[in-house]
Symmetry: C2
Subunit: 241 residues, 2 copies
């Protein structure tokens, strides 16, 4: 059965120091929504063994699946594979298939110590291959270990997405040129009636005037459309302050 809930674990000092604006979780969030899998948490943590092990163990016990991003390159700060092996209490092994692929690509001499690091995966992993890179990601249990470089992450994610979600979510947005507080109460009543539709209100401004969005999403298209009708009918009755 496909995973119904998921978490994303971003491993990278460059995000926490404000150097890099995280992009992979945003990409994955949109794809999981379309696939019908609920993204329940995103965690960004440093390239530190203890943080990786404790956060991974917490998330993989709580949700159907965890997708990690980052820390699988050849340098000293790439410690995701060894930390995840430790979290699962298995050995870190050189995978024959990766050794062979790298030897073919770089030649036996080109398989230096850095690249050799990239042949290692937790024992029992299945490889996640994609055409963008020779060094694959890996899956162990319900954990999918992907690269941090965005074009590789995206390609790897696309290749595993069929294992996430059964029934796509759909979203409908309604533009509202009213202060939120004017419709907060009747909107609460509609949310109470449609507990299978998620209703959010996001304020904004067009110059000095309020113009926000009410955003409805759900997996049941009939119920979603009914809720949208209810919101539109409610908004017609609001008198701007």
């Amino acid at each position: 059965m496909a995973h119904q809930t998921a978490a994303i674990l971003v491993i990278g000092n460059e995000v926490l120091s404000g150097r890099t604006r995280e992009a992979n979780a945003f990409y994955a969030a949109g794809k999981l929504f379309e696939a019908g899998c609920k993204l329940s948490e995103v965690a960004v943590i440093p390239d530190e063994r203890d943080a990786i092990i404790s956060t991974l163990n917490r998330l993989r016990n709580k949700f159907d699946a965890v997708i990690t991003s980052g820390g699988i390159g050849p340098t000293h700060d790439d410690i995701t594979m060894e930390s995840i092996a430790e979290a699962f209490d298995v050995e870190l092994i050189e995978h024959n298939f990766i050794v062979q692929a790298m030897t073919e690509h770089f030649g036996a001499e080109g398989l230096n110590e850095g690249r050799r690091r990239m042949t290692r995966v937790p024992q029992g992993s299945k490889l996640i291959r994609c055409e963008k890179t020779i060094a694959p990601g890996a899956r162990i249990g319900n954990v999918y270990i992907l690269a941090g470089v965005p074009y590789i992450f995206e390609s790897q994610l696309d290749s595993i997405l069929h294992q996430f979600g059964d029934r796509p979510y759909r979203r409908i947005e309604i533009e509202v040129k009213l202060a939120e507080s004017l419709f907060a109460k009747p909107l609460t009543a509609i949310q109470a009636q449609y507990d299978d539709v998620e209703i959010g209100s996001y304020p904004g401004r067009c110059g000095p005037d309020p113009c926000g969005k009410i955003c409805l999403s759900g997996q049941n298209e009939g119920r979603l459309n009914e809720a949208v009708k209810a919101v539109n009918a409610m908004l017609k009755n609001i008198i701007p302050a």
Copy 2:
């Protein structure tokens, strides 16, 4: 004493569903780095009471301070204040100062049920005021409760930033037109020599060729400059494959 470590807790379904690309954590990450406070974790969770309480309690016990973003507006999905009151096991109270400020601004009639929600903070909170909004954020213990709307979040964050960090971090980046694997080993040796400097390697491509960055950061400027010299000297000795 200023906070030396911090976590950011983003509360919002709109981020997890891929509707909105998160911006506040990225803004705060840069500011905390400049201020000299280590951002140790970012968590993004849904607008759900149990998730807010358990995640907040985990983070506030682990780090010097927690900054939350989102869920303090007037609608049904804004449950941050009440959930944080519950996490601290205190009452949620209408704050006199906010009631008065809102009454002055909107008139007694304009203080509808939605706006009334925004006068509530956990008992014992101090207000975090900024000129961008009448409804303030709040601080309770080591938790700073800020808005999710970016221009308000940024203004509120700027107003509390003096409480974070003592010694600014500085970052120096070196462009490298070599495959990472060629310098991974000597870079590991330099990192081992400079444990007070954080060294990261971020690969990239310029067309078909590798061009990445080695990124060094730290609070001790002398040591940082020494480490940069060591990396530059090391790179001169690498022969491109």
